[in-house]
Amino acid sequence: MANLPPVQIENIQKALNLTQKLRSNVTQLFQKLSDGFDDVENNDKTLLSEIQKSLGSVNKDFSDLETGSNSLTQVTGSGNSQLLCIDPVIDKTSTYSQILQSYKWTDKMREQAAYAHALIKENPFKRTHVPSGLFPKRIRRNQLAYSYPPNRLDELINLLQVQYIDTMNISVVRPLGSSAVVQVVLGKTLKALLVFRGIVIEWVKVKGFMEEFQNEDGKVDIWSSSRYEVFRKITNHVTAATLHYYLPEMPDLAIKSIMIWLQSYSTLFSAPCQKCGKFLQNGLPATWRCLRTKKAYHEQCKLMIQMK
Amino acid sequence: MENTFSVGLKHNIAPHQEFLLQGSILDSHKEVLLHRLRGLCDNAEKAPEPFYDHEMVFMLRGATAQQNPVLFRVRRSVEPRDDTSWHIRYLGTSEVGDKSRHTLVRACFDVACSNNVVQFLNEMGFKLDHEYCVKGYFFHKGRMKVTVSKIFRMAPSGGSDINTQEAMSHSHLVELSVVAPAGQEQIADDMKNFAEQLKPLIQLEKVDQKRLSVQ
């Protein structure tokens, strides 16, 4: 590095500073966006102009960085580090061993990244269609499941409300604009919170009947988990079920079938496991409901059935 | 096990002594007083807090002379209707004291309870003595509580609709009170100072209730 002209070092320093600045600006912007539009006193206009301002600064930082990076030349070779090995007093500094260590790490990381890349390529778990360019026509025909207008979901929920009036109490709130948060109260057994994006379920939380989904200031709290182990377990199961029932082509059907499935939890405490015939296993009741038959199973009993 | 109540009494932290000043204002001047109180009390930026309560006074009467009747006042909020607002209030006989004491002092127990309290007291042998509705506004400054309220007779039908109820008078009752642990006499001075600030709009005084009942 010492061979580099001082201008070059200065440039590198500058580029590093710019990168830092860009990062902090982007973080700030995302922070603002994730905090949401719940600030009632500010109207939309000020909010929009604020976002525009931060977007502008991000843009400016980015172009600065781009121009800065153009002036940088690639550093070839590993510089003076090659000369380290001919240093006779190698034992006095630990630099050489450190460099060796970091080289090993980099190598390992490359290897792992390659594996991960291959794996992800094999099992794509993208939930949304990516226009690949090959079938542009077909994609235009299918409306994206998350871009349905809000009233579509309202209609669907109204339908479900009437249909399951005896067993479930379904209510909708929209705390942050268009995304709907649906609360389902199932008998006197449990409460479930489903967060929608468009007409796709994005997030699930299950709590006990006596627990609340509102925090002290009356806002909907979608993050906190249930106090009880059984409902934390069911939260996991319901999340798994939303993936199972996920049908981007027919989102209505997906929601209807998950509601029917969710209803089978009304016997959560009263139904023994269909395999072992007992109520409890490790202090938990039969928390799993079969996705096809809706029969009650313990988590471990379910695994044993699946293995057969 | 020592229960929390006896622990509370021993360490003198359970509030059970009420300091009270009372007054009355004609309906036509109520707004001026509310305005003044809003300026003097905490949370001036908020509108005065309204309340509308139903109070039932239950009495336990003994057969013998040595058993003084005991009164329990059961109160609940009518508007907004709230099942958790039920409570029993016990008030001791009020001591007027001499000139050096600025307020009325009486024992006071406020005990929140579940909504089956009426049935409970009836089964214990209490009889309903009288009942009424109170509607008004509530202010607080520090630990001082100020209520400006009007008392209504219960409608004969027993309904709690304010429109069918008959007001007892053309004036509002104004009460300034603090419930504190025993022995905190200095609070009476604070109350006197506060009452001074409301003059001449209203004269808050210690009202000897014994003399009232004789008349």
Binding site: K188, F269 | N68, F109
Partner: protein, 209 residues
């Protein structure tokens, strides 16, 4: 706050209460439960002091799990849940209701938690003499006794065996309703009354305190 069942655990002959309590605690610990402190449920009885009127009783119960509350239960089973200041109100009624001497009975012991279950092993003492053992099992997530009775019974029978078969009267009458702590206190009162009946004949009302 969930559904609770309180069982009376018999002390077999030739064993001391302490031994039985220890063996119960051991079987709960073997289950995998962790100790979460002590608990205490106490009960005092007040009685009408006038002889010629109808005899009435008020039982005042406290539970260490609800330190700010006080449960007052009448003979008919009406249970008032109130602030602990209610004790002060009872003192104001001393010309009408008087505390029965030597009526203070309590269940005291260890509290355990296991998943969503809470166990309480209490030894009952009346006027500081040992009377028996009460085991309380609570299943916290559920509020309808009828729903989780089977589950609760299964858990109980793994600890107390056949004793788990007996369904408390309070639960029997409230299978479909929302279960509350007041119902737990009624169960304790029922057991306390049984213990009192077993041993001492009803004593005369004490005069003055």
């Amino acid at each position: 706050m969930g559904v609770v069942s309180v069982y009376m655990f018999p002390v077999p002959e030739g064993k001391s209460g302490q031994q039985v309590v220890e063996s119960l605690q051991k079987s709960i610990e073997l289950l995998g439960a962790t100790k979460t402190g002590n608990f205490c449920v106490d009960c005092e009885t007040f009685q009408t002091s006038i002889q010629n009127t109808q005899q009435r009783q008020v039982n005042i119960l406290h539970s260490s799990d609800h330190p700010a509350s006080c449960f007052a239960i009448l003979d008919a089973g009406t249970c008032l849940v109130a602030d602990s200041l209610f004790d002060g109100l009872m003192q104001k009624l001393k010309h009408y209701y008087q505390q029965r001497k030597g009526s203070k009975i309590e269940s005291k012991g260890q509290r355990y938690e296991f998943g969503d279950f809470v166990f309480k092993v209490g030894s009952v003492s009346l006027a500081s003499s040992f009377k028996g053992i009460l085991l309380e099992i609570e299943y916290c997530p559920c509020i309808i006794a009828g729903d989780c009775w089977g589950l609760l019974k299964e858990m109980a029978s793994s600890i107390v065996g056949n004793v788990a078969e007996q369904q408390p009267n309070v639960i029997k009458n409230k299978l479909e309703h929302v279960y509350t702590t007041a119902d737990t206190m009624c169960q304790y009162l029922e057991h306390f009354n049984n213990y009192k009946k077993q041993t001492i004949p009803p004593t005369a009302v004490s005069t003055g305190r």
